[in-house]
Symmetry: C2
Subunit: 773 residues, 2 copies
């Protein structure tokens, strides 16, 4: 077990590395040639342009203003300055509510830490359980602060029980207030002034085939009959997956064309390539001509495919977006069952147009239930048996494995450097690669399950990721052996032994988790803000591909929050915090620092970097709430097990009440708030409709909704990619950055590009800078 000194050294090292990351970030972000990497959000919104036009040549690339380096941590307060309402306008509700998860961490753990250090630390510290007891285990200073230091059968455990109650009530209180707040924010956001197509539209899936009518006619007749006063229009869904693939391919070819053209300009030599097997064999041809002809060929193919998609009735999927005259009509249709057979004419709120996951819209009901079953089984095996294939790979990647499989590599392996590389590095890489690809695997699993919107895909992947980390990071590090061995040992244990098994191991692992929080949490957050990968890729692209302003725009990779990986990671820290709060309070400060740091960093990233892919209106909150409640229950069970091993058996009845109350609290919250995330109250809809009718009596809603839900590749009738892009971009600007007249807008803290003094002067400042020659 680590001593206090060990922890101090580790903390110092990690603080240092995090500090180096931050300094690197502070320097890099001030360089004008990195501007598009660190402030892409502002470019995407059209509120910032390249700092190319004026100044000396050097100044275009390097910031020479020494004053800006002095105040290099200024971005932190700047990130905190934008008010929440402003931020919702700027980045959407999803991002703002996502930030609140970090805030919840602070809200829960700061008071808990104070209480724990005020009550538990003195109680533990003044005990002598470790001195008196087992001398064979070397105890450290950290352990003297933990519950391990209290004698068995001590009356002092009552302090821990009372404090556990206080922790539970405080956490529930914070959760309740937060749920209330988020639900209100969501409803307010949905009822906000701006009109959005999804407020009027319902996604209809599983339309039964009809031999006499086309899908379009069928939909129209059905809704004219069953929603006679409300039906307005509808859009069928085309199966444009192949078309999308072709368009993507052409875009790639065009990139290569640009690359070769640039090469020609630089070297004045016509570049040549080979046509076969990845450019390694085949005939040599002129690269530019070759790509030009290929692109022409593809363009024709795309035109053909586009015709086919729009005219062939077979490419119409049995799904449609149905729009209504009023929000009331849409709310009614989304919440009701249409026909006897609840697996046909399924209606649900249409996701935002950006959020639609087009290829999943046509899966029939039976197929979906079968897919869910398959994925449930697959996920079980993934969680508990993923070590088996990795162990196989690792055994192959060992010296002996390679010798056996590929004997001709023997001379190479025997080189000392390569040998040590294989021994020390390769086995780790297999696991690391798996963990890197895990979110992608989980997303693919969700896609296979047939969810119809990107947000629901991410929510599903997030809950799977959470389960995976709960089993493999939390339990996996507490208990010994692989997940499968744990599963086996749990099956062979009595149920009342579970909390004891976990409870006994928990205090022993405190120092490990402290290190984990510092390495994965602190350094991870600092790496997030540095954005090394987008930085490198941007400069590579910039060097090889960028010719026009548009190309540069495309070279930017703003990224997004990544709910499916980010949220489960936060939840893991909340779980650690709650579990250790009553056991080893010394963990808490490290977690609080993580949450504080992460909050600032993510707020900065959301303001300046991330470009949200969709807006679900914080639909993920019930999941977040549920997982905190699960963490709370786990912490209570662990404490129960720990106190049992400490022979404080008379305390068990008091602790059993806690999980029961917590579950009840969850059910209460679910009944009280969850429907705000599933349904849309009619009263709100009526209010909004009435207001709109009064303010815009002549609104042509049909025209507004006509093309809102068209597959992105079909959006423009002109067969040109550029228009397409422009078009979709236009749409985005229309729906996302519709200008509001609110006063606070004027104070948007837009980072200036020339003066590095502060990253967020007020807007007039920024305009002045732009007006400078």
């Amino acid at each position: 077990m680590a001593t206090l000194q060990d922890i101090t050294v580790a903390a110092a090292l990690n603080i240092l590395s995090a500090f180096i990351f931050f300094v690197a970030f502070a320097i890099l972000r001030l360089q004008p040639f990195n501007d598009r990497v660190y402030f892409p959000k502002w470019y995407l919104k059209g509120l910032r342009t390249d700092p190319i036009h004026g100044g000396a040549f050097v100044r275009k690339f390097v910031n020479l203003d020494w004053r800006s380096y002095v105040r290099f941590l200024n971005w932190m307060p700047a990130a905190l300055r934008m008010p929440e309402l402003e931020l919702i306008d700027h980045a959407g509700l999803d991002s703002v509510v996502y930030l609140r998860i970090y805030l919840i961490g602070l809200k829960i753990f700061v008071p808990i830490a104070f209480l724990a250090w005020a009550v538990l630390v003195p109680v533990n510290w003044t005990s002598t359980g470790l001195e008196a007891g087992l001398n064979n285990i070397t105890s450290s200073d950290i352990d003297k602060l933990s519950i391990s230091n209290v004698h068995s059968r001590s009356q002092r455990f009552w302090a821990h029980i009372v404090v556990a109650y206080a922790f539970t009530f405080w956490t529930c209180f914070v959760l309740l207030k937060e749920y209330e707040q988020v639900a209100a924010m969501r409803l307010q956001f949905l009822a906000a002034e701006k009109r959005r197509p999804d407020q009027f539209t319902v996604l209809v899936k599983n339309i039964p085939p009809d031999p006499d009518e086309s899908v379009s006619e069928l939909v129209e007749h059905f809704f004219l009959v069953n929603h006679p006063d409300n039906y307005l229009t509808h859009q069928v869904v085309y199966n444009a997956n192949k078309l999308a693939k072709l368009v993507k391919k052409r875009k790639k070819l065009k990139n290569w064309l640009v690359y070769y053209q640039n090469k020609l300009e630089r070297t004045s030599e016509r570049p040549q390539i080979k046509t076969g097997c990845f450019g390694l064999c085949g005939d040599k041809v002129d690269a530019i001509d070759h790509h030009n002809t290929e692109i022409d060929k593809l363009t024709k193919e795309i035109a053909l495919e586009r015709d086919k998609v729009t005219n062939d009735p077979k490419s119409i999927m049995p799904a449609a977006f149905v729009s209504f005259k009023t929000r009331w009509g849409a709310a009614v249709c989304a919440q009701t069952q249409q026909t006897r057979n609840p697996t046909m004419w399924l209606t649900e709120w249409a996701p935002e147009p950006r959020d639609v996951y087009w290829s999943n819209l046509s899966i029939p009901y039976v197929s979906i239930t079968v897919r869910r079953l398959i994925m449930a089984v697959a996920f079980f095996f993934l969680t508990f048996f993923f070590m088996i294939p990795i162990a196989i790979v690792q055994s192959l990647a060992s010296i002996d494995g390679i010798r056996k499989v590929a004997p001709w590599l023997k001379p190479l392996i025997d080189i000392r450097f390569i040998k040590s590389f294989i021994q020390g590095f390769l086995p780790g890489i297999a696991l690391k690669l798996f963990l890197i690809f895990l979110p992608t695997i989980l997303m693919m699993m969700s896609k296979f399950e047939g969810f119809g919107s990107i947000s629901s895909l991410e929510r599903r992947a997030a809950s799977r990721y959470y389960l995976f980390s709960f089993v493999n990071i939390f339990l996996g590090n507490i208990l010994t052996g692989s997940a499968f061995e744990q599963l086996d040992s749990f099956i062979h244990q009595p149920a009342n032994q579970y909390p004891i098994t976990i409870g006994t191991a928990i205090p022993l692992k405190a120092s490990f988790f402290i290190t984990y929080i510092m390495v994965d949490g602190w350094a991870g957050i600092a790496a997030e803000v540095l954005m090394l990968k987008p930085l490198i890729i941007y400069h590579l692209k910039n060097f090889f591909l960028v010719k026009t302003e548009k190309d540069r725009e495309e070279a930017m990779d703003a990224g997004s929050i990544g709910f499916n990986t980010g949220e489960p990671r936060i939840q893991l820290y909340i779980l650690l915090g709650l579990v250790y709060a009553a056991v080893t309070p010394s963990v808490l400060p490290f977690i609080i620092i993580f949450f504080g740091l992460a909050y600032v960093v993510f707020r900065h990233q959301i303001i300046n970097v991330y470009n949200q892919e969709y807006e679900s209106g914080a639909a993920f909150w019930p999941d977040v709430h549920l997982r905190v409640v699960i963490a709370l229950i786990v912490s209570q069970i662990v404490l129960m097990g720990l106190l049992t091993t400490k022979k404080a058996a008379s305390s068990t009845p008091f602790l059993i009440a806690l999980p029961i109350l917590t579950i009840w609290f969850h059910l209460y919250c679910k009944g009280r708030f969850e429907s705000a995330f599933v349904k849309y109250p009619l009263q709100e809809a009526v209010m909004k409709d009435t207001l709109e009718r009064a303010t815009e009596p002549n609104l042509n809603l049909k025209a507004y909704l006509q093309n809102a839900y068209v597959h992105p590749v079909l959006k423009d009738s002109i067969d040109d990619e550029d228009d397409e892009e422009a078009n979709s971009h236009k749409w985005e600007t229309e729906s996302v950055t519709v200008p509001t007249k609110r006063q606070s807008r004027r104070n948007t803290p837009l980072p200036s590009r020339m003066s590095g003094a502060s990253s967020s002067p007020s807007l007039p400042d920024a305009i002045r800078h732009q007006q400078e020659p």
Copy 2:
């Protein structure tokens, strides 16, 4: 363990006792003076009158026609003759679907029994596991048919596994078909031609208080705004609990008055009573005068209270029945959320007027969640710890206990007869009494939880009763010790030990459960048809209270199906059947006989006796389905445990797939059918509305709905009980026995009252009989 002979003797005894019950029933039901006990349903429907008018005096009471006694089992085919559609008209959908539960038992177990006897019995019989193995346990012939007779590690277990798959698939197939059928029946029933108030009405609960408006105004304004095109009218709910109590008290006094008047007529002596403490002390007064004055006093009080209820705004509860112009409007309102706060303005389908449980309509949301928590905890203790108070009572009721508590009874106790009575009978009575009151206790728990309709109260009580019998009858008889001891031993066992513990004990208990099925099942069913309790009570009432035709009508106690006790009992037999199907197939014939017998008896009772209290449209089916699925999963787990003890470990993976597939099947069915029991499809509503508009363009719906949902005691404005009764009766006839024009009606098998030859001649026959002088 019982031998084949023991079982044969027990079976013979039980068959004999059941036969005696049936003969007694056959004789008693033919006596005219029992007519109202055995055919009350027909009296309530007004299709049968008393056989008083004609014939000799003796014939009024005793049936002297010898021919009718010869064909004494004729009621059985007669009960089966009424077609299902006819039966729905006659007794409602609930009763018909309830009968289908017995049919499901037959459908599942008859093919399973054939397969088991064709495959498993030969496999078990030809094994020699019992002979070869443990000679210290005496084995019987029954055991030779069971899985116990197969050698450990035998390859013969593959037969059991294959058959278990066949059983599972067959059961799921039957369940699927049945769910489909019942859902279709329900939708057809709801969409049936007759108009019902609940089709247009929605129950609104948790109306928030408003300082400026009364509840009635508030409801009107709210729905005029939020359902502008659909709102028609509403009725507020009055808190008439006190009034109902007063009316009930007056009715009781009136009964006593009649009793004393009858006494006066018989003895010509004015009866006197004492006024204090249950008529044991106090002044002597004239009974008739006393009751007359008391009744007058109460009548005034009732009038006062009625005024108060209808005029005092405080007696209006925050709930209302809101009616809409169309079924579409009601369907929309019932399925949608009205306001931001999902705990206010809660809407749900209004239950049928008869089905409303009035006193629960005003409980606020928070209170309901707290009540649910309390009841969940209370039910846990009731299930696992109910033996503790009973053990205390039993220890008090023992000889020593009585000696200690009441030493003055010593001489009495020492009498030999009383001593043996106390020793042999009293301890059993405490348990028996508890079990008799258990359904009432469970119903009270459901009422406390705040469900708003009698049908949902009964459904809740049924699922609790099922859990209770699962733990205390199924597990309680398989394992040793009380429920609490079992719970304790389960907690201290590894999870993988559970199926083994149960699986080992299962084959040993086969003969016990066979006896249980015969005693509780066969004899219980036979006792059900004899209706001893209503028979005795009717004759007592008839002797002491009946003066007028109306009194006689009131003396009838038709009873009802009693879903809350009946359904869990059937489920217990289904559980036993599925568990023993693959283990000890000899149990199956006994279960099949139970289901066959029960089906005939309950069909007879539903046709002739039970008067359904409400009509929920088979809303209980999802519960029934779920419980059969649970039974299936339990049977699979038990088989898995059993095969593990038999060292057929390689079979486990094959068996693990079964519960997973079964759970998936349940989820599929839930998604596919459950909404038919929760929601009302809009398409159906529109079709019905359109049809109605075409056939009855001038319908005054408002008048039809105006008073549909008035508290029964407020129904008549005249302060007279008789009118009240007549009124509510009128309503019932109106809504339940509305005459249809269907052809099959003419063939209603109405039991004749004079000729006992057959209980179901055709209607013209019955009319002819009535026309006879």
